[in-house]
């Protein structure tokens, strides 16, 4: 089968070009190390929802003081979102990241403090998979204790209650980012795939291949297989590096591996599309970077991107960003590695990602054929 012949040839070239191979394998590891070191410890302005039902004055005073709290460098510690208390609404707001955590100040808050009545429960709600919640809950608890102390109370009638919307615990921002970063580390093979094709064009060896009457699918399939093999080596290395950087997950690495491979396949498809518009490997490198960079930021690894819903499939909202394969890949990886999701939980993402990957590959093969094979 000629697809395997092209695959074998691509593998030989890939593994003998030691400089390119080392760079390809090291890049994602360096990438994950940089992010691990940069975001291993959190530090930014957190978004806190507050519902103040206190009938006295201390609730408002507490809100005011939280609102005015700053870091030593003068930056605000919290962006406060004042909301009416509705348990379901709070959960929804946390899920949709309207705020990172929610503090509820109950009706008898002032009374309990001033008259030293029975203890009053103050719930702080949030998603434990969201690192910000972990920080906020700790900061706010400490803040309330200081608040009680500063208001002259010797005993603390406040009982802080943590209400968590999920079951998982994360230790650092890196824990939250790592699943997405793992996908992205192999997604850079998009650039590599585009360059593999354009190298054949630059050296004109593509003409030899085309003259042998080999089919576009066989060429693209062979190249894709070699890139997938590279990804299959890179993914465990990137996982291992993440674990060394204290990424913690009890999710299925096997399932995460499969998702990463499918994401790689979509990257290869996009790489083939890019190659169809480039004449040199430098051009492919530049355009590849231009394509990958927005995908990195739009995938929702670092911040929530506003959605523009088009329709819904199996309960999954399909928006414009869905057509960016990294979005579903990152979503699936987060579910697997942070929330311990199994295959059925990520089925919608799996389906969309598989369809997208196949689609990009088919378009890539078609454009490759149009560009290089149509006259042959």
């Amino acid at each position: 089968m000629r697809l395997l012949v092209v695959f074998k040839k691509s593998i030989i070239e890939q593994f003998r070009d030691s400089k390119a191979l080392i760079l390809t394998i090291l890049s994602p590891i360096i990438f994950i190390i940089i992010f691990g070191l940069a975001f291993g410890q959190g530090f930014y302005t957190y978004s806190l929802g507050i519902s103040n039902d206190d009938t006295g004055a201390l609730g408002g005073k507490l809100v005011q003081e939280i609102q005015n709290s700053i870091y030593p460098n003068g930056n605000k510690m919290y962006d406060i979102v004042l909301v009416d208390f509705d348990h379901e609404q709070v959960k929804n707001d946390i899920t949709s990241r309207n705020y990172d955590a929610h503090l509820y100040i109950p009706p008898h808050f002032s009374q309990s403090i001033q008259q030293e009545l029975s203890q009053v429960r103050v719930p702080i709600t949030g998603n434990p998979a969201n690192l910000s919640y972990n920080f906020i809950s700790s900061f706010v608890e400490n803040f309330i204790h200081n608040f009680i102390w500063n208001n002259g109370m010797m005993t603390n009638p406040i009982e802080i209650v943590y209400e968590e919307t999920e079951l998982t615990q994360v230790k650092s921002e890196f824990d939250v980012m790592a699943p997405g970063l793992i996908v992205f580390s192999v997604f850079f093979l998009l650039i590599q795939s585009a360059m593999v094709v354009t190298k054949e064009v630059e050296s004109r060896t593509i003409q030899r291949i085309v003259l042998s009457k080999v089919k576009s699918f066989e060429i693209c399939g062979g190249i894709s297989l070699s890139q997938l093999m590279l990804a299959a080596i890179m993914i465990p290395l990137v996982f291992a590096t993440s674990l060394m950087l204290e990424f913690t997950s009890s999710g299925s690495f096997g399932l995460a591996f499969v998702i990463s491979l499918i994401a790689t396949f979509s990257a290869i498809g996009i790489g083939l599309i890019i190659a169809s518009f480039c004449k040199t490997s430098l051009e492919a490198f530049i355009i590849g970077n231009v394509v990958v960079t927005p995908m990195l930021f739009l995938a929702g690894i670092f911040f929530e991107v506003p959605s523009a819903n088009l329709f819904t499939i199996m309960g999954k909202e399909i928006d414009v960003l869905t057509f960016i394969p990294t979005v579903d890949a990152v979503s699936a990886m987060n579910k697997i590695l942070i929330n311990n999701a199994d295959f059925s939980d990520i089925l919608p993402e799996f389906i969309v990602l598989t369809i997208l990957s196949t689609g990009y590959f088919v378009v890539g093969v078609y454009l490759f054929s149009r560009r290089y094979m149509i006259r042959a």
Partner: protein
């Protein structure tokens, strides 16, 4: 038997007609050279024969199979382009095996044929060496045999001797000659000596059209039948006495005298005595027939092309 027949082939790029109603016929076992200045349309013609470029009009018949506009690539054609097309990180043997496999050849046949071709071209001891580690001449020789690994009936060679040292040139020339008879060659070159030594017939083209097509000897006899007798002196010379002859012309240029005419061999003693009596003994002298290059320049002119 006709191996390649091109009928009224045309190709335009915008308003520029690169190949204009071109027709040639190459017999089986022939080495046929297509000569022309840069931009004459040689490469465009080759690209249409191989199917890399779509023709606008015309018909190409390879071993009896006809291809028109919209047809797919022709099989059993070997193409050795002017640019070396090798995979730098693959050994000589691997490159040949890869191409053989693409042509769906049997692995045993590929192995035998690879070894045979590498031996023929003097690369047997380099078969395990990566292409990037070969010298330029070795790469060109490997590039040549890559185009014949699948045993094509028609072999197209674009400047096959470019960049080769004299030893390699002889090797390549012998390799091509050894295959002629059983295989058909279409050769393009700017090296007139190469074309004259190798070709059974030559076509000279310019501006997309074939100007002439015949054997090198016939072209010389037809377009430049004269011979040139040339004398070289160590110092510049000046003619003091005019020579009158109806059978030849005399040109003086610095240190040389060139006598041009028909069948000068018989007149050499007479001319030599005249030259010696007037200028003394020359440093060297030579009698040469016109070359294919003379024919080429006569037909295509001296003006520079693209």
């Amino acid at each position: 038997m006709t191996a390649l027949e091109i009928q009224s082939l045309s190709k335009s790029f915008g308003s520029n007609k690169t190949v204009d109603n071109l027709s040639i016929c190459v017999e089986h076992g022939e080495i046929f050279s297509l000569l022309g200045p840069n931009g004459a349309g040689k490469t465009t013609t080759i690209n249409m024969i191989t199917g890399v470029l779509e023709m606008d009009e015309g018909n190409i018949i390879v071993n009896g199979i006809s291809y028109q506009k919209g047809s797919s690539a022709m099989s059993k054609i070997g193409v050795c382009t002017q640019d070396i097309q090798l995979w730098p990180f693959m050994t000589c043997e691997e490159q040949l095996h890869f191409m053989g496999n693409l042509y769906k050849m049997d692995n045993k046949v590929i192995k035998e044929r690879s070894l045979h071709l590498l031996e023929r071209i003097g690369l047997a001891d380099k078969r395990k060496v990566w292409a990037k580690k070969l010298s330029g001449g070795m790469q060109r020789r490997l590039h040549l045999i890559m185009s014949v690994i699948h045993d094509p009936d028609l072999i197209i060679l674009d400047e096959p001797e470019a960049g080769l040292d004299p030893q390699s040139r002889i090797l390549v020339r012998e390799f091509i000659k050894s295959l002629s008879g059983s295989k058909t060659f279409l050769l393009t070159t700017h090296n007139m000596d190469e074309a004259e030594r190798l070709s059974s017939r030559v076509a000279i083209m310019d501006k997309g059209r074939i100007l002439v097509c015949d054997t090198p000897v016939a072209l010389r006899e037809k377009f430049t039948p004269e011979e040139t007798l040339e004398f070289l002196y160590p110092e510049p010379i000046v003619m003091t006495q005019q020579w009158e002859s109806s059978s030849y012309r005399v040109h003086m240029d610095g240190k040389s005298i060139r006598v041009i005419g028909y069948q000068l061999t018989l007149a050499v003693p007479d001319i030599l005595s005249k030259v010696v009596s007037q200028f003394g003994h020359p440093m060297t002298f030579s009698l040469r027939q016109s070359t294919l290059e003379d024919v080429f320049i006569k037909l295509t002119g001296r003006s520079l092309r693209q």
